[in-house]
């Protein structure tokens, strides 16, 4: 089976600082991949390279290639807008727009030229259901999203991402701002979504990585120290540094 994402010799710089060093990793189709590692090791930078969100940072520079379905996403002919439609992203802090719940989910559809009211409402409902939020909000779709709880807001952001039908979903510590119950709900949701989407999730929580992902990559100081099947990486790590990190013997 071909890989969905192939990253080869990726180096990322912000101005003078060399943030990611020689990253090589392949990401499988319809599967969850976790990225773990201590704070500041470059996990966010890495996933933001995959949907070219780093392009918004003026000092960003990179070399190496990132292939999505075999095509270089940094090719000059590639349109960032199309890429981001295919590679959706959920952020660490829930960031719904200051609009109604309905409008939040419908936003991406409007952006991509869907105008038919019926299609939009159908799609909004589907997405909210897929994000396991429908039952909680179906009676108050016109309410401002700002009035939802943190966990609901995060699921709304996932629904918003799903609505534009991406192929890959990037999640940057989606649970770090949430309480345990909301976290469980999001994890259940990830389990449900993994059949249809390729998911890459950054997490600080190693239990979470073992619970949700098939594969895991361990980042340290901008390098991938070890990557592979999650079970193997946690049960019998090859690298000493991985072992130190997962056993908590690490600063």
């Amino acid at each position: 089976m071909p890989y969905r994402l192939e990253v080869e010799n990726l180096n990322v710089y912000f101005g003078e600082s060399h943030i990611l060093k020689d990253i090589n990793i392949n990401i499988n189709n319809n599967m969850v991949t976790s990225l773990i590692g201590p704070s500041g090791c470059g996990k966010s930078t890495f996933i933001r390279t995959l949907n070219r969100m780093n392009d918004t940072i003026p000092t960003f520079k990179k070399d190496g290639t990132v292939l999505l379905d075999g095509k270089d996403i940094y090719d000059p002919n590639v349109d960032v807008v199309d890429l981001r439609k295919k590679v959706g992203m959920v952020f660490q802090k829930p960031n719904p727009f200051p609009k109604s719940i309905f409008d939040n989910v419908a936003y991406g559809l409007g952006i991509h030229g869907v105008n038919d009211k019926d299609i939009i409402s159908k799609k909004v409902e589907e997405s909210l259901k897929a994000a396991a939020l429908w039952d909680e909000v179906k009676d108050k779709l016109e309410m401002s999203a700002m009035g939802l709880s943190g966990g609901q807001q995060q699921r709304l952001c996932i629904a918003r991402t799903i609505a534009v039908e991406p192929e890959v979903i990037l999640m940057d510590e989606p649970c770090s701002a949430l309480d345990p119950i909301s976290t469980t709900k999001i994890e259940d949701l990830i389990h449900k979504l993994k059949n249809d989407y390729t998911i890459i999730i950054v997490t600080h929580n190693m239990q979470q990585a073992t619970r949700v992902s098939k594969c895991t990559a361990f980042f340290l100081h901008g390098e991938i120290v070890e990557s592979g099947l999650t079970d193997k990486l946690f049960m019998e790590p090859v690298d000493k540094r991985t072992e130190d990190y997962i056993t908590g013997r690490f600063g």
Partner: protein, 282 residues
């Protein structure tokens, strides 16, 4: 996706429009300032700046008008600075967030937005007639003080509020009284910001015309006493231009005014820049 203009194209179009509007704004400034300076600078020489006017300003120099401007602005600042800074200290350090504070804020907001000609009306009715100061530097200066005060107050308040809390806590912990803390720790740290406020107030006083139209008089001689009438530069420019006394001199006077304001702006910016750099450095 059957849209008339694709998102990509509308992005390109809008970006062009935004750039154009930015460049057009710069062009407007260059047009106004450039035109005034190109026509006014040739008129300016030592004689023009330091000479006495002849024939109501059709020839000679503009020294009395420059003196009037300085005099009136000085009076305005002497009155407005303590009021503005005092008010700022009160708002930032003493008052809580109550109805009175809201009223003070709204009051200074109105004060900042009242049309200048209404200040002129008030200055005439109150200072010139009621207090019987006559058409004088004092009446004009006091009227301008009312206009400069809200500017000073707002800028000073921001400056005082941006002094780190740790400064005053440090001082209080040493047993200093509130006023000792304010006068010896907070105000010195806020001085650059307060000076910026005073300079901005000064700019407002220097450029104002309508408010002094019927308060300061229209004397050709330089005022000596505070009760003498004067004719600050903007007023003089108005007279020159509308009564057709001398176009070249009108350009010259306008150029002097523009240069004055540019200098004031540049000085403020350098000050603010240095101040922020210093704060960042700490």
């Amino acid at each position: 996706m059957n849209r008339i203009i694709s998102p990509k194209n509308s992005q390109k179009i809008m970006e062009t429009i935004f750039w154009a509007s930015g460049i057009f704004t710069v062009f407007l400034l260059i047009l106004v300032i450039g035109y005034i300076l190109v026509n006014g600078l040739p008129v300016i020489n030592l004689n023009f700046i330091f000479g006495q006017p002849i024939d109501n300003g059709a020839a000679g120099g503009i020294l009395p008008f420059i003196i009037s401007t300085i005099y009136v602005t000085f009076v305005a600042l002497v009155v407005a600075t303590p009021l503005g800074v005092g008010g700022a200290v009160y708002l930032a350090e003493y008052a809580g967030e109550n109805a009175l504070v809201k009223a003070i804020r709204f009051g200074s907001e109105i004060l900042a937005s009242i049309p200048s000609i209404v200040f002129g009306l008030f200055g005439f009715a109150f200072f010139v007639v009621y207090l019987d100061f006559g058409f004088s530097v004092l009446s004009g200066g006091l009227t301008l003080a009312l206009m400069a005060m809200p500017t000073i107050l707002r800028t000073a308040e921001v400056a005082i509020e941006s002094v780190p809390k740790s400064y005053s806590e440090g001082s209080m912990a040493l047993g200093a009284s509130k006023w000792q803390t304010i006068s010896q720790v907070i105000l010195p740290a806020a001085v650059p910001g307060i000076i910026t406020g005073v300079i901005l107030g000064m700019a407002r006083a220097v450029e104002e015309t309508a408010a002094i139209l019927y308060t300061v008089g229209a004397a050709i001689q330089a005022p000596v006493s505070i009760f003498d009438p004067g004719q600050p530069l903007p007023l003089h420019l108005y007279t020159l231009a509308t009564e057709g006394i001398s176009m070249p001199f009108a350009y010259g006077t306008a150029a002097v005014l523009v240069i004055l304001i540019l200098v004031i702006t540049i000085v403020t910016n350098t000050l603010v820049d240095r101040y922020t750099k210093k704060m960042m450095g700490r």
